[in-house]
Symmetry: C2
Amino acid sequence: MNEKEILRLLELIKPFPRVFSKTIRKGDVVADYLEKRDRIFILEEGEADLIKFDTKGAKYIQEHYTDHDLFGEIFHAISVSGEYSVIADTRCTVTYFSLSDLSDETASHTNYPEIVGLLLSIFSSKFEQLNFHIAMLSKRTIRDRLLTYFNDLARRNYQRVFYVPMSYTQLADYLSVDRSAMMREIKNLEDEGFIDRNKYRIRLLTNI
Amino acid sequence: MNEKEILRLLELIKPFPRVFSKTIRKGDVVADYLEKRDRIFILEEGEADLIKFDTKGAKYIQEHYTDHDLFGEIFHAISVSGEYSVIADTRCTVTYFSLSDLSDETASHTNYPEIVGLLLSIFSSKFEQLNFHIAMLSKRTIRDRLLTYFNDLARRNYQRVFYVPMSYTQLADYLSVDRSAMMREIKNLEDEGFIDRNKYRIRLLTNI
DNA sequence: TTTCATTTGTTGCGATTGCAACACTTGAAA
DNA sequence: TTTCAAGTGTTGCAATCGCAACAAATGAAA
């Protein structure tokens, strides 16, 4: 996501009364995903996790957010079963607003077109992310999912060497495969000479 | 997607010079998905298919569009390999525009807030669709994918009886599973008393 | 009405995957 | 520094899936 755009958006919208900011202490709930609404949250400072509680009460970290990350109900695949919360990992400052409220409130303002432009740009990035996720999940083998994901990382890094930006447990969740099966397949890719790996540092050795 | 909103949007934006309309003859190309741009297409009349050509040249129908459907590069998971085109199935009338051009052009107009509101609403629906697709693809068995999909159809139909709105070949593609394996699993669901089926008419018999 | 391409329906088989189980490593809090 | 929860790495095994192959049904065009 473009950090400059997020900062500019914050600058433009903060003066409006229905754009809220608050500070959350470590461990506290940033946002509940109980009801599907059109709220958008911007994490200004700190770190937070999107946590899923499944039907058995077990909890999983679904996503991790840092400075200037953006989240909200409409950007997420909230599965049918289970509840979601965003929990502060450290002390957090978050700014949030309802999309429709913001639109109403800023409509007559001089900066409205710029605000809209920024929102549309942010939405485009989110569409891109979701579309990539779908394209990746449409691959039918763990190997293809890994290679699709790795190639994307390399492409966005302009290099064949990159660091996996999350834990392997989280990666397995993102790829929606069993973690142990994924580790086995990573090992296979190493053994067969497709990748070179050192913990989270990976180098692609082929042109697939 | 809300048809009323699409119609209202068309009404509002058609007068602008950089909103284009054209008629396409059956079999002709409505839009090429070669370059990723921010164009949005609204099919006003007729039917069209999103076709994928894979690396071997084989073609697949990826999606089917009818009156007042909406498509465009940003809404799609364009996989790495292969090319896409939208081909007219019958004579079509299509209206299209570049999102940024439209925003620029209408920014100073009285109807700008309403146009923006409609666009945001349309985007929200698309996010919902993509998020559902991801939630469904995150299921690891064909059975779970089918039940997730069927339950959604039933929910949106307010009934446990519904019609699968596409061919089983297309459904297998949407669920991203092998067609024969999917047919086998549908048969299993019938045999085990989870569903009742007559061609495309399905009745859910359980409360999962 | 006939033709023919497309879709549906079915099965066997081998490959891949999820699951369970366990040891080892890591890193943050006490 | 110690403790302990969380993540990593590995393996056997059974379940599921994709693939290939083919027959039957369907439906649109000639």
